[in-house]
């Protein structure tokens, strides 16, 4: 049985219909010694990818795929790296995207799939002026 209800699927399908650019969700999981959340994450991403043919799930092994791990600078699993037409958006999600994180995941997919950033013009100007490496980490919980 799917994690998303038929009603959720219909709503999400509509939200995701704005996507025009292919989005790749690169999922790193660890099968041995990893947490259960890797399995849940894989199921969620699989169901999302099934709702729009521009969304693709790409699976990587956190232990074995060391080249990809270093390419995307992934240091923990489960990890979701979001690509927009194979270009790294530098947006990452760590842990199962349930609860609030799921909303964030869908929003990130829409940004990657449309190239549109829904921010105030002044805020965007400030962000675009950043000229040094800036690493933002946001901690949240599912509820």
């Amino acid at each position: 049985m799917g994690l998303l209800s038929p009603q959720d699927e219909a709503t999400l399908k509509q939200h995701l219909s704005v996507i025009t650019i292919p989005v790749q969700l690169v999922l790193f999981t660890q099968s041995i010694g990893g947490s259960e959340s890797g399995t849940v994450t894989k199921q969620i991403l699989g169901e999302l990818a099934g709702l729009n043919d521009k969304i693709t799930l790409v699976e990587k092994n956190f232990v074995l795929d060391t080249e990809d791990k270093s390419k995307y600078r992934v240091d923990k699993a489960p990890a979701i790296v979001i690509l927009s037409d194979d270009v790294d958006t530098r947006m990452r999600l760590y842990g199962a995207p349930t609860g609030y994180e799921f909303v964030g995941l869908v929003e990130a997919i829409i940004v990657a799939g449309t190239g549109k950033i829904d921010l105030d013009p002044q805020t965007l100007k400030w962000i675009q002026a950043v000229d040094k490496p800036t690493h933002i980490q946001v901690f949240s919980t599912p509820t």
């Binding site: 530098r90 947006m91 990452r92 999600l93 400030w126 933002i136 599912p142």
Partner: protein, 61 residues
């Protein structure tokens, strides 16, 4: 923010799954944001306030 500038990387982290990190950054409530290991923002803020705090630009208009 990451999508708007290639200098920015944004990680959303599930706090209960990565307890070591949560302890390291003293995550006592969520959302908690850490920028470059130095800036800490606890709780949600309006868009402009959040960006100003994250980018340490208190004098911005």
């Amino acid at each position: 923010m990451a999508a708007a500038n290639t200098n920015i990387t944004a990680d959303a982290i599930e706090a209960t799954e990565f307890m070591d990190l949560s302890r390291k950054y003293r995550v006592t409530g969520v959302p908690k944001t850490i920028v470059n290991e130095t800036v800490e923002i606890l709780g949600g803020l309006p868009e402009q306030d959040f960006v100003r705090a994250a980018l340490e630009m208190p004098d911005a208009p």
